[in-house]
């Protein structure tokens, strides 16, 4: 299963980005191979439509879950119809490493 996490930087010590559409990096974590992949967000500077464009990017990677600090009104229905689970974590100081550790429970 693949999980996308929004990140402020491209290391495992970066923290969770509280925005979804305009986060700095997406981390794609594979629970089976334990591999992480950092994707820079091309929509960071987008004036509008950053959210839906980011959803496209995430969906093209066959992700099952998305972890972020917030999901906008436009994005929620798209994820819903794609059957991707949204997880909202209101803890901006959590690092990617910690989140991955929680995910492995």
């Amino acid at each position: 299963m693949k999980i996308a996490i929004t990140s402020t930087g491209n290391t495992l010590d970066s923290t969770l980005d509280q925005r979804f559409g305009r986060c700095a990096f997406f981390v794609i974590y594979d629970t089976e191979s334990k591999a992480t992949e950092f994707i820079p967000n091309p929509n960071l500077e987008a004036e509008s439509g950053a959210g839906p464009a980011s959803v496209q990017l995430i969906a093209s990677r066959n992700v099952n879950k998305v972890v972020s600090g917030e999901f906008g009104m436009k994005i929620k229905p798209i994820f819903d119809s794609l059957k991707i689970q949204m997880i909202i974590l209101k803890e901006p100081e959590k690092t990617i490493k910690e989140i991955i550790r929680i995910l492995n429970h």
Binding site: P77, D80, S81, M86, I87, I88, K90, L103, H105
Partner: protein, 192 residues
């Protein structure tokens, strides 16, 4: 004057088809005007007649008032009856709605997550796998995250007695049980 804005109705499970049409008419009459059923009306019918909820429960699901729900429900019954009797096609589209799924709050990792699969019940938290989670309604909880007022403390300026503040009761109306003095509010951030 413009009419009052309609409240957005929440639709948990949109229909899988765009509409219905009659078949096997005896006399083929020229194309009849379809009846438009709004998403909120479909949802009302689904909650009430398929899930067998009462109007009050269903109105909570759609985050509208009970009378509004009853009006929506009455309207869909009327429309469907009209479509049946007049053998007209039905289209399900439009309406003042937004789509949302059920949300949950995990007590272990304090995250919020939704259920993407409508037909499968959630058994564990999506993040930490804990089973300690509760149903959570995102509506009307705009200030939920930074609402620390509930954790304020009433303090007696005379003897320093502290007491958990109760929302809705002004501290100035509370009387200190020890020295009968009027109590004061002490906010959490000041307290720290």
């Amino acid at each position: 004057m413009s009419p009052r804005l309609k409240r957005l109705r929440k639709v948990l499970s949109p229909p899988t088809v765009k509409g219905f049409k009659p078949f096997g008419q005896d006399v083929v009459i020229d194309k009849k005007e379809p009846i438009i059923i709004y998403y909120e009306e479909y949802e009302a019918l689904r909650l009430c007649d398929y899930d067998k909820l009462n109007h009050h429960q269903a109105s909570v699901f759609m985050s509208v008032s009970r009378p509004t729900f009853t009006r929506v429900y009455a309207s869909v019954r009327q429309k469907i009856a009209m479509a049946f009797v007049e053998s007209r096609p039905m289209l399900i589209e439009g309406g003042k709605v937004y789509f949302d799924s059920d949300w949950y709050h995990c007590n272990t990792c304090h995250c919020y997550f939704n259920n993407p699969e409508k037909n499968v019940a959630i058994t564990v938290c999506g993040l930490c796998g804990s089973q300690d989670f509760i149903n959570f309604d995102f509506d009307n909880t705009e200030n939920y995250f930074d609402d620390d007022r509930a954790n304020d403390i009433c303090i007696c300026p005379n003897c320093g007695l502290k007491k958990q503040h109760q929302l809705g009761i002004p501290c100035s109306e509370e009387i200190c049980p020890v020295c009968q003095n009027v109590m004061k509010r002490k906010r959490k951030n000041e307290y720290k």
